[in-house]
Symmetry: C2
Subunit: 215 residues, 2 copies
């Protein structure tokens, strides 16, 4: 740092926005979204109220959607996994990142997913569905299946909802069992439900065989 | 019917209410809850608008919540199953009733569960959560486990969410695969995830052994 650098650096629009969303996410972790006002966010971020209102002129609904959008982007980044090494190891690593996100955002994660009593939930539902869809696409692309059929697609989508439910229940249960056990358990559930589907679907049967040989 | 019976019988308050909710549920099956007005319900039920407003003075939010409450009651009835015969047969029968409900209410079922852009979702979320909790309690009581531990409870709750997700995806996929296959598939998934949990939990292991001997 040069002596002429100002003690207080002006944040860029993007940096400021991230700072405010981060403050909002932290607040969501302790109170329901509908109980958080823009004033609370200003206080938590240590900035003036007019500044928060300038960034979110649409009020708390806009703030909520922006926070959800930002969480969704972060979640989708969890699914980024290099296409190398055994498939179940890749899945474990993605789950590690996902569960770390859940752990960090805690009640804020539940609040975001469950919406609270905020209007315009059809738009926020679309954001959450987008994350689920992205997760399913990532998994299917790692499984390297061309033209996944109905039963395989359903199995993957059902398991993704199961993971989501598991993480909400895990928060509800005071983060028990330990996160590493939860991760392994979810991977085992994935293999188990795929194996069940394999009994009714040739494509999935081939995949299960490949997975078993993959370790 | 005696000759003196009136051609038009006045409905009791409860009957009228049910009639209006049934009309609303049918409308929800084709349009999002937020697009349904009390006027639409009056028209569908063939009654006057003031009458609908008398029953739902709180407007469409009250109508929506009442419809959700009524659907929740119907769903909870699906879980009522005599405590006799093999456990997986009981589970199949309960699923048959549940899936018949999903089939009948179709898009209305998705709309109810996903809320749409209606305010006060925290109260409606509580109704939906109540159904999930009731389902979990029914299953645990049929499994006849005293003091179900964390891992068993989580497994049951995760599977219930999986069933819910499966039924939404099934609607999304044009009701494929056939409902009987979906039912059997879900029962098999139940056994599969229990078996996975059995590897990490003695209580569940004992249960899986009992289930296998139960047929």
């Amino acid at each position: 740092m040069t002596p002429s650098a100002p003690a207080y650096r002006r944040l860029s629009v993007e940096e400021r926005r991230s700072q405010l969303l981060e403050a909002a996410l932290t607040l969501f972790a302790h109170r329901a979204p509908e109980d958080i006002s823009l004033d609370d966010v200003a206080e938590a971020a240590g900035v003036s109220r007019p500044l928060v209102y300038r960034y979110f002129p649409g009020g708390k609904q806009q703030l909520y959607e922006a926070a959800l959008r930002s969480a969704a982007d972060e979640l989708e980044q969890c699914f980024d996994e290099p296409r190398e090494g055994p498939l179940l190891i890749r899945l474990s690593r993605a789950l590690d990142r996902y569960l770390a996100f859940v752990d960090e955002h805690d009640a804020g994660f539940s609040a975001l997913l469950q919406g609270g009593s905020v209007v315009e939930t059809s738009r926020t539902t679309a954001i959450v569905d987008g994350v689920r869809r992205a997760a399913a696409e990532h998994i299917l692309s790692h499984l390297a299946v061309t033209g996944p059929g109905l039963r395989l697609r359903m199995t993957v989508r059902i398991w993704i909802t199961a993971v989501e439910a598991a993480s909400l229940i895990w928060l509800d249960e005071g983060k028990q069992p330990p996160v590493e056990e939860l991760r392994d358990w979810l991977v085992e559930q994935f293999v188990a439900v795929l194996s069940v589907t394999a009994n009714r679907d040739q494509q999935t049967a081939a995949l299960v065989t490949a997975l078993a040989a993959d370790g």
